[in-house]
Symmetry: C2
Subunit: 430 residues, 2 copies
């Protein structure tokens, strides 16, 4: 069954390039595999994670010890930590991925052409997927599972702060994948802890088919600007809640608070509130009280400040910078706008294009907002927090694309595929 | 209806950046337009091209005169030339684009989530599309028509050799678009004839949503390597015809000759012939005769050379370079391979991933070849020449993507769109 890509006979290839070549060969092997073979490997991975939890947790302890020595904050240490319960949860997630339908082989479109040729466009794996990510070691397993399921080989480049954990996890993954009869090189940690290995990965065009950076805005910007490998930009979310002139005030307060404060550290949390001037007097006092109760500091424009005077809200004057800030904290920028169109203009100017919500009772306003706002997700009378692969029913998510090419919004398994056309004739010529 | 993106108040912006900002504002205006408005503009464009043919042909004569002075080859001058008939044909093509269905607004997927939220994924324009292309001025109109139809603004950067023609065509287009009530800035020629304007376009990330280079391999490589704007790689075609051990010899000869010689200058023409060793003795003498009759020079490996001795074929010994060459001429590389899998390995190693054909009577061979070959198009018993938007029934084509992200193979109107999710609730929160 194997038809490996020939490995260039070049001993001077760097370790990263060698890893990429091995990944290409593995990708060619797993691309045509049927679902059963891939699911078998995933279930083996889940079993192995449970059987070797000790090894993983021990390796993780080394990362945690180093992080403590380096004075890392407890919130980051918490994200870094793997307990036996967390490893079991990760294994369960892998089983969930195995249970999802296989995107590969799906016929996206098909027809018989006028000349009798049968044309089919079918989903195929992308090939070699590179993931560059920060502290959380669970991403190592999640990303590998999604890539395997979609028939891709994966090159994992986690942060050096999680190196021991990631190395232990990848050992477990590779052993299980190989025991299941698939090539171990379908899952590899990018060799080297230095920044140079990231740079090399970004220049490996032709070897790596796509890079998906997952992490902070700085990491993503670097990858987007420096990579010659095609990149899927993920995650930056300066999300807006717009409260229209005609609105249900209770609903507007609920959606605002849920969007901002249910989990402020994630990309689909709201960062800016825009309020139509006609409803500002009725809405803002209540909204500001509710935000205060939720512990949110409001970075307010002048018109919002007027309404804040009579409330117990924690309010500071907004500067231009606030409009483009992704706080990821209990902070929100707030402005009064003259009209729905002014809200749209504000969003166009400052949004990262992730998710924007309108709260309105007006059908016309809902329709105009959804037509004019061009973000991955436009929500009508719903929290911004629903922009999520799990919430959307995709079963799993490799990230949320904020770019327009290839994938936009939450990315599930189909977004980890490309397509090819199959043309079948009986000797057809032009 | 207009909610323009605010133009930065910065007089120091370069002409290219100013054009891109104007394009963004125009893109926001045309994105929500219904089909009728866009088709109206396209029909106005077609009428205007016919009404102002003289202006276009006169401008074109300037380009031709300059090209002649510069000693340009007649084949390139022919591609540059616009006659009244050709302008009428271009206008007819625009009317054909108007007749195609509008991809914008198509619901790609939709469901009601378990919590009652209605989720819809709908097609939206990409925004601002940049096209960088070489001599042929008809691309100016084709690309503008496809972008307008799909609700995108377009920045056109043609070659300086066609500058007068392109400038005249864009004048006609802009006037017609504006007369139809759409913003003229939806169609713009990138200002400046120097290479700097191309470079600036390639660095305009955030202003330009995608760049599509159309032209020679050198142009495409430069754009792919230097652009920070996402690029759709098009057109390089080192296509293969593989003749399997079990085959219909007549069909194999017909497909080979059609793939190679029906129009050698295009990207879907065959550049390499691979023959299974078991059929080489029966097939190659006939194939070499037929190639000779078609005027094709064969760059043959040693095993093909053995069979050539007894034929009147024009044969030269192949070097490694031949396997990766896109001749675009009456030349073909040819090799004998040990097996189907060896053919696949050869294709993996050398193909540009455009189109590969197998000629076989074996169902198993056809199935294995289509599973293992990962190119935009895999043809079974059909010429490579069918990889074409027109042949595939897409009605029009902006290019043939040879990359895996976003679009792969012939790109029609849907490939000029992105999607967004619309989430509709009744006050849903998490």
């Amino acid at each position: 069954m194997t038809t490996p890509s020939p490995l260039p006979q070049n001993d001077t290839l760097s370790p990263v390039a060698q890893a990429a070549h091995r990944a290409r060969a593995a990708a060619a092997e797993i691309a045509p595999l049927p679902r059963a073979a891939k699911d078998g490997a995933l279930l083996a991975v889940a079993d192995a994670l449970e059987a070797r939890t000790d090894v993983v947790v021990t390796a993780n302890a080394e990362d945690i010890a180093r992080a403590r020595e380096a004075g890392t904050s407890e919130s980051i240490i918490d994200r870094l930590t793997l307990t036996p319960e967390r490893v079991r949860a990760i294994a369960a997630d892998v089983r969930d991925v195995a249970a999802l339908p296989d995107p590969v082989g799906e016929v996206v479109r098909g027809s018989t052409l006028p000349n009798g040729i049968d044309l089919r466009q079918v989903r195929v794996p992308l090939g070699v997927v590179g993931i560059i990510y920060e502290a959380r070691p669970n991403v190592t397993v999640d990303a590998a599972a999604l890539c395997l399921k979609s028939g891709n080989a994966v090159l994992l480049r986690g942060s050096s702060s999680a190196y021991s954990s990631n190395a232990a996890l990848v050992d477990v993954l590779r052993d299980a994948v190989e025991a299941a009869g698939l090539p171990a090189d379908a899952v590899q940690l990018v060799p080297g802890e230095s920044r140079d290995s990231v740079k090399e990965l970004m220049r490996a065009r032709g070897l790596v088919d796509v890079l998906i950076p997952r992490g902070g805005a700085g990491l993503i910007r670097t990858v987007v600007e420096e990579s010659t490998v095609p990149v899927i930009e993920t995650g930056t979310g300066n999300c807006h809640v717009y409260v229209d002139a005609q609105t249900d005030l209770d609903m507007a307060v609920d959606i605002l608070i849920n969007s901002k404060a249910q989990r402020p550290s994630v990309c689909n949390a709201a960062e800016t509130l825009l309020v139509h001037q006609d409803i500002a007097g009725a809405f803002l006092p209540r909204a500001l009280e509710a935000l205060a109760e939720a512990g949110v500091t409001v970075h307010a424009d002048e018109r919002v400040l007027e309404h804040a005077a009579t409330t117990k809200a924690t309010v500071v004057a907004a500067t231009a910078e606030d409009w483009e800030t992704e706080y990821l904290s209990y902070d929100i920028a707030a402005a009064v706008v003259d009209s729905l169109d002014a809200a749209v203009t504000h969003i166009r100017r400052w949004s990262s294009g992730h998710t924007e919500a309108i709260v309105t009772t007006s059908q016309a306003a809902a329709r105009r907002f959804t037509q004019l706002v061009d973000s991955t997700t436009v929500a009508v009378n719903a929290s911004t927090r629903f922009t999520d692969g799990g919430q959307f029913g995709f079963g799993a998510e490799i990230g949320i694309s904020t770019q327009k090419l290839h994938a936009r919004g939450p990315m599930g398994l189909p977004e980890l595929t490309s397509t090819k056309y199959i043309v079948t004739g009986d000797g057809h010529i032009r």
